[in-house]
């Protein structure tokens, strides 16, 4: 394995993370452990229901882990086992952790439809950080320029294209100045010609040193842009490695089997 980060040098440390659901047999995570360095761009791939989305949701505490340990920056969250009920300390930690993490969801209807693009971006800084309106607008405009949306700042989400919506969603998350950006299949609902503009934003952020974790089916993007790719199956990390190595010489048979589906299909995308 060519990728090996020690916990000490990593921004994100996950140890023995377990998560299950009462009403679902899939999406269960078993003893996930991984260390991710600052500035890394990591792609999570795997078959549907393998648990990759659940993993992301655990990282920003939309799901509370059953047991295990998560550290993002200085914020730590640990739980001995599922019988330990969430206490005030855990809730506080999970709230702090969310502040360190930006998240972009699947689909493109996740902007707040009753607010303009600008209001979408300024809302959290104003409400959560109590930032003055003028300052919030100024920062937000800078971010909107970065994702190329300065011209639609005063438009309502319903008038945007899918690609613009996802870029606005990225801008909204960036406005909280997160240490890590998480993306849950950010381009899966987009028309093919719109995928590139969203992936380009992620590449730009990567070159600025943002730490990013992306659940994706864009294999070409994962291979070209990621520092490394993590293959998850049946709630376990099967293997992770540099894209070229994983795609050409997977060690595990499950990885081989999964990647076979993408051989020769048009996964390449211009971005």
């Amino acid at each position: 394995m060519t990728v090996h980060n020690t916990p000490e040098e990593s921004l994100i440390v996950v140890k023995n993370l377990c998560k299950s659901f009462d009403d679902r047999s899939d999406g269960v995570l078993n003893n996930i452990s991984i260390n991710i360095k600052k500035g890394d761009l990591v792609s999570l791939i795997g078959p549907s229901g393998c648990g990759k989305s659940t993993f992301l949701r655990c990282l920003n505490c939309l799901e509370l882990l059953d047991s295990g340990y998560i550290r993002i920056g200085d914020v730590e969250l640990s739980r001995g086992d599922i019988s330990r009920r969430p206490d005030a300390k855990m809730l506080e930690a999970s709230h702090k952790m969310r502040a360190e993490v930006g998240m972009v969801f699947q689909g493109y209807n996740n902007l707040f439809p009753h607010k303009t693009v600008m209001q979408n971006v300024t809302l959290a800084p104003r409400v959560v950080k109590k930032m003055p309106e003028a300052e919030a607008r100024e920062t937000s405009m800078r971010i909107l320029k970065k994702v190329g949306l300065e011209n639609v700042a005063d438009k309502y989400p319903s008038t945007l294209s899918g690609g613009e919506s996802q870029r606005a969603a990225i801008a909204r998350a960036l406005a909280m100045n997160p240490k890590v950006m998480l993306y849950d299949e950010p381009t899966s609902a987009l028309d093919p010609e719109l995928v590139g503009e969203v992936l380009q934003v992620m590449k730009d952020l990567d070159s600025e040193g943002m730490t990013q974790i992306i659940v994706t089916h864009e294999m070409q993007f994962a291979r070209d842009a990621s520092d490394y790719i993590v293959f998850i199956d049946k709630g376990e990390i099967v293997e992770y490695d540099d894209g070229d190595i994983l795609f050409t010489k997977p060690k595990n048979n499950r990885t081989k089997e999964f990647l076979r589906h993408f051989k020769g299909t048009g996964t390449a995308v211009n971005y």
Binding site: N60, L62, H95, R98, A99, V101, G102, M103, F105, Q106, G107, N109, N110, L111, F112, P113, H114, L123, A124, V127, V128, Y156, S158, T159, A169, R172, A173, M176
Partner: protein, 516 residues
């Protein structure tokens, strides 16, 4: 938020002007202005004035006692419960001394005695005495002595009425075969009606007396003293002469067989208004004269409706948030409240709040009983609308807000609630229109709203047609702005969602017609 509070404050000022304080010794007396002629009824030539032989008796009574009469209106059915509830000190409105009544209230010595009078259409030949009523359709007043008599007779198809005028109307137009009423009602309803004749001898004996609550023994003694004085001084006889209500039975009761001393002026005035058919012009002028009173009643309707709706909107939101967000047990309580209020008739709820709650020390004015009753009932419906609105917001909206670091409360306030409110405005406005109409139910708890006013005028003029159309139009006009507002909000909502998820205000069902 501040504006909202200001608006509520202004509403409160508009709705509840300070109550006038009453001074001196007043005698609050309860009656039903719709109770009917000749007992008490709106004067046909000036409907703001209530007249009737019982009004004259109350005037003489209070004059003798040196008290100021204060009239409290209540429906006849509820006169006795209202007395127990302390809405007034005495009740007088053709209240019969019956064993059932005597269980709950005390009665004064009688001020009038009469009998039941059978009435049929002029062409009817086969009904001459009470026994002939067997297997026939007979109308009478609800919960009256006449009803009891008919029930004892057996085999009579009894139809009970609240407004006596309706009974004779139905007798005239053939829906009934006969009508059995207290003689005064019969005289004033049909004594001058060429379609109807009185048949048979006097039936039974009816004793009218003044009802006083069981506790108020002192007042009962004073009332009795006054009645004895009025009888012995001939003042009662004068009243009965004027109203054409003196009868052999009364002569025996008062031991006064002397001839009439004053003319039956009040009866003649009454018969005059029932006389030849009104011309259209006179009828329209009469309707025009009704408008100010109907306007005042419309304001009462609007006040009750708006107050009830404000209660419903605020309480409904609290209930919905409790249902969706609060801990399990609060959520269950909220759901139980909603199901209870939706599952029981609003009429029962109003009765319970107005007449039932005083038993546990909660005494609301008629206005607040009506507003709170309707408000609680509609809050249940609004809660369900809000809840549907909140649940219609996609999960990702909530998660996106939380993922941005918002607390639950912030996510609710900034993200889900504003979207839900946008969606619920049209159905809530629709509900208000429906509440406006349901507010007619407050007429049963002594409020003179639009519906009650209609009943009063219709009873006074014996005319359900014209006033009915006018009142229907007033309801329509009050509701119209809200109908418009509802349409407007629906259209706006459709425009904001024009990304294709919802129809942009085009009636898709009509589009098919282009294919034909």
């Amino acid at each position: 938020m501040k504006n909202m509070l200001k608006m509520i404050a202004i509403f409160a000022l508009l709705l509840f002007p300070a109550r006038l304080a009453s001074a001196g010794e007043t005698l609050r007396w309860g009656g039903d202005s719709e109770g009917g002629f000749p007992y008490m009824f709106p004067n046909p030539s000036n409907t703001d004035e209530i007249i009737g032989f019982e009004i004259d008796i109350v005037d003489e009574l209070t004059a003798y006692l040196g008290m100021t009469p204060e009239y409290v209106n209540n429906s006849w059915d509820n006169l006795i419960p209202g007395l127990e509830r302390g809405l007034y000190d005495i009740a007088i409105n053709g209240l019969e001394v019956t064993p059932e009544h005597e269980e709950t209230v005390n009665f004064s010595i009688p001020y009038y005695k009469t009998f039941l009078q059978l009435a049929v259409r002029v062409e009817t030949q086969d009904i001459n005495v009470l026994d002939d009523c067997k297997n026939r359709e007979v109308g009478t007043l609800k919960e009256s002595y006449a009803q009891m008599v008919l029930e004892e007779l057996g085999d009579v198809r009894i139809r009970t009425y609240i407004v006596e005028a309706n009974t004779y109307e139905d007798l005239s137009n053939g829906r009934l075969d006969a009508a059995l009423f207290d003689s005064p009602i019969a005289i004033y309803s049909a004594g001058f009606n060429p379609d109807i004749k009185f048949v048979g001898p006097p039936i039974g004996e009816i004793t009218y007396a003044i009802a006083v609550s069981k506790e108020n023994k002192e007042l009962l003694a004073k009332i009795n003293e006054a009645i004895v004085y009025l009888r012995d001084s001939g003042k009662l006889r004068e009243i009965y002469d004027r109203w054409n209500l003196w009868s052999p039975m009364m002569a025996a009761e008062f031991n006064d067989y002397s001839p009439r001393k004053v003319d039956k002026t009040r009866y003649d005035e009454w018969a005059e208004t029932r006389g030849p058919k009104l011309t259209l012009g006179r009828r329209l002028r009469r309707y025009a004269a009704l408008l100010p009173s109907l306007g005042a009643a419309a304001i009462v309707t609007l006040q009750v409706s708006v107050t009830a709706m404000l209660i419903a909107i605020v309480l409904g939101l609290v209930l919905a948030i409790a249902r969706v967000f609060a801990p399990k047990w609060v959520s269950v309580l909220s759901a139980a409240f909603v199901e209870f209020m939706r599952g029981t008739p609003v009429l029962i709820q109003l009765f319970f709040i107005f007449y039932g709650l005083p038993n546990v020390g909660i005494k609301l004015s008629p206005f607040w009983a009506g507003a709170v009753g309707l408000g609680l009932n509609y809050a249940a419906y609004e809660a369900e609308i809000y809840r549907a609105g909140l649940l219609a917001i996609p999960q990702t909206q909530w998660e996106a807000a939380l993922a941005l670091g918002m607390t639950h409360w912030q996510a609710m306030r900034e993200v889900t609630l504003p979207q839900a409110v946008r969606v619920v405005i049209p159905p809530i406005t629709n509900d208000f229109i429906s509440l406006l109409k349901d507010s007619s139910l407050v007429s049963i708890i002594t409020m003179v709203d639009l519906t009650k006013a209609y009943g009063q005028f219709a009873a006074a003029y014996y005319d359900y047609f014209g006033p009915g159309i006018i009142v229907a139009f007033i309801y329509l006009i009050i509701g119209l702005p809200f109908v418009k507002f509802s349409r407007y909000t629906e259209r706006r909502l459709a425009e904001q969602d024009k990304d294709g998820k919802k129809s942009p205000g085009v009636n898709i069902y009509r589009m098919n017609t282009r294919w034909r």
